[in-house]
Point group: C2
């Protein structure tokens, strides 16, 4: 089954926004076993939109539209599609009530153009919009399946997941075996090295299929298979998962789509363990990544960004002898990383303390090369570990990869602790 | 002049990456006065790619390709385009030398498939790849203009800006008046309010044109005009710029495309002023935004993430009476924001101290609503200012908008100081 995604909106053609809807829908359709062969972007122009519809009908079985279903004159998607298929349009009463209620609740008079948001094509199934006003729609015509979704991602995503996807499964995918996927998540390894390790599996893949991809310092491998039942699919997927885990025993941290920070926050919060951090070259990025996770307040106590040497001495008791003088190791050193991790852990009285000191660039510092970073991991009652990183890339990249690398070290240590003290994670407090 | 952008790559159709190249090129082409009418994404498949080329030739004057010019068997763009136009391919010797040198310098044996990266279509102008290996190309055929660019943005962007854009200007835009643009940057105001204030200008625009767009808490307005000379264009643009500035006198912070953090870092560094910060609910995001700017080390000293009340008391001397007890104002309060800003400024001995305390959600804290945030601005020798924010949105949104709002306050204060002490910005140290 072949699909085409048509995003409608002049703002996309002007480059004002990026077509993230196409990415979301492509991922979702791939997971349903539907092949996306084309993504098209067209502006708010009726004749060009109808032209795009004609082309899509000639080459796809499923055509998904995003955008162009709001209240303004520029919103043309439903009209163009109806015209193209020779169908009429009518107001859907439930959708109209939903729009009217929105204005009533806010005590605003509804302007006439808002009625447009309740329009559906004759014969189509309305897809209620739970996070917005414009109703979506789904229908089959001449052996093709059409889905019309809103443009704003916060309306489009829940409508797809909650309504359009089940509709597709019931109507378009009835004869086909469903597809099942697992997301395997990796840390502490780059995409190219991971691909290298899995190259034989990737080259010889048939069923299940393997697709690795990298995003913001993490690598994800999606494994997928078609099967008559979930049980059979999971059996096949687990065999491959085990094989992959055996090839990369240290790096796979989850078999669901979850960021590493989330696992760390959840597990430390459950175990009653606490964390603090002292950051130099990452300047707050490490703490920001952790506190970005809801619930982090119960395990993350706080920390210090010690960008200047003065702050290192004053707030983190780094001895001047380590920082200054011709023979001093300097701020970017194994010694300073150790003091920073130790001190911040003691100051915060936390179970773990993390530290970072390094050269993020551009330009070297202390005659040390860009990309040289030391990260420290202090733990109550155990010797502090320091790791040296030699990273390449832009300032942004070096900072991001430093953070991911240190979180990976923390996660590995938490995993070891689970083995050491499986039933009393909080006992060491 | 009408353009179409064709992005080639199965990874786009699988949703593994978002088509940010199309956004970049659309923005660039709009700035050249070229209308992008379609963006197309097609996979690494020769017949579907040729089909997309045929369609684009029927509806566009300029066709830009990104991706599919690497060394693997899946890289088909040049072959498909050559076949479609009935042209041949040959190795460009300079491009081949560039590829060969890359391997020689790394003392790696070049495999035969890398020769493919030096291929160009007969009659095309090679576009050297300064940040990668695959050569791009540009040519005219039958009144149409073709540009073939690499897929990785870090190769595509410099090749477009440095080579493809001048080529277009020389070959495709000769008869047309060049277009000139200015980017006006705004802070401390949302996109919808800004649009509201400029609605009459936007509705009645003809020449220059006005295009507002929002990105990560900042709003940009691009104003553009066509003119025979830069001098004439700038005169027209400056009239409109002045009008816009008069409508929004407090919010326009630059007339070049620069983030607010950059202005703050550069100006404080030049003036010899220093900064520190104490963050609660933003958890490091404020400091991360500042330290993300190269050169921030010369003005940003450091700061404290005081996520827990213990850290607020211990590191920032917040009196327990403010935090605890039935009548205490609590951590999320005007009083605590003031102490945090004062204290961090004194501890760091910096000219300015910033603070944040609030409820980023999800879930309220201290019975205070999600989105209530207090930000503080302490300055050596002046009373500390505290501002109350009432923000809506997700946790991520609230954190981001808090940071932008506080940076906006700091920028406003720096502007005031420039007026107070125009020639001795560092005199108050």
């Amino acid at each position: 089954m072949k699909a085409e995604i048509i995003a409608v909106g002049t703002e996309l053609l002007l480059g004002q926004i990026v077509n993230s809807n196409a990415q979301f829908l492509s991922l979702e359709l791939a997971a349903l076993g539907i092949d996306v062969f084309f993504q098209t972007v067209v502006g708010d122009n009726s004749s060009r939109l109808q032209q795009a519809i004609e082309i899509a009908r000639s080459r796809a079985d499923v055509i998904l539209f995003t955008g162009g279903i709001g209240p303004t004159e520029d919103d043309l998607t439903k009209d163009a599609l109806a015209a193209s298929l020779g169908r009429g349009l009518h107001i859907d009463q439930l959708a109209m009530d939903h729009v009217q209620r929105f204005f009533d609740e806010r005590k605003i008079v509804m302007t006439e153009n808002n009625r447009k948001q309740a329009l559906i094509i004759d014969g189509a199934t309305p897809l209620p919009n739970e996070t917005g006003l414009a109703v979506g729609l789904a229908f089959a015509d001449g052996g093709k399946y059409y889905l019309v979704l809103p443009g704003p991602p916060r309306e489009m995503k829940p409508m797809f997941t909650g309504q359009a996807k089940p509709w597709l499964q019931q109507h378009a995918l009835t004869g086909e075996m469903p597809i099942y996927s697992k997301m395997l998540k990796f840390a502490g390894i780059g995409e190219s090295l991971l691909e290298d390790k899995l190259i034989d599996l990737i080259r010889n893949q048939s069923d299940p299929t393997i697709a690795p991809y990298a995003k913001e310092g993490e690598v994800t491998v999606r494994i997928s298979t078609k099967a008559p039942s979930e049980r059979e699919a999971m059996q096949k997927l687990e065999v491959l998962e085990t094989t992959i885990q055996e090839i990369l025993p240290e790096h796979m941290y989850a078999n669901i789509d979850v960021p590493l920070e989330q696992l760390i926050v959840d597990w430390m919060a459950d175990a009653g363990l606490t964390l603090s951090a002292a950051e130099s070259c990452t300047g707050g990025l490490l703490m920001e990544s952790i506190t970005n996770i809801p619930g982090s307040a119960s395990m993350f106590l706080g920390g210090i960004v010690c960008y200047s040497n003065e702050m290192k001495k004053k707030l983190l008791n780094v001895p001047a002898a380590l920082l200054e003088g011709p023979d001093a190791p300097g701020a970017v050193s194994r010694e300073v990383a150790e003091v920073l991790a130790d001190q911040v852990r003691m100051i915060a009285d936390s179970d773990f303390g993390l530290s970072v000191t390094g050269v993020a660039g551009p330009g070297y510092s202390e005659r040390k090369p860009v990309g040289l970073v030391f990260v420290g991991l202090a733990e109550r009652g155990r010797p502090t570990q320091v790791y040296e990183l030699n990273l390449k890339g832009t300032r942004e990249n070096i900072r991001l990869r430093t953070v991911k690398s240190l979180l990976y070290r923390l996660w590995r240590r938490l995993e070891e602790r689970k083995v050491d003290t499986p039933l009393e994670g909080s006992a060491l407090q």
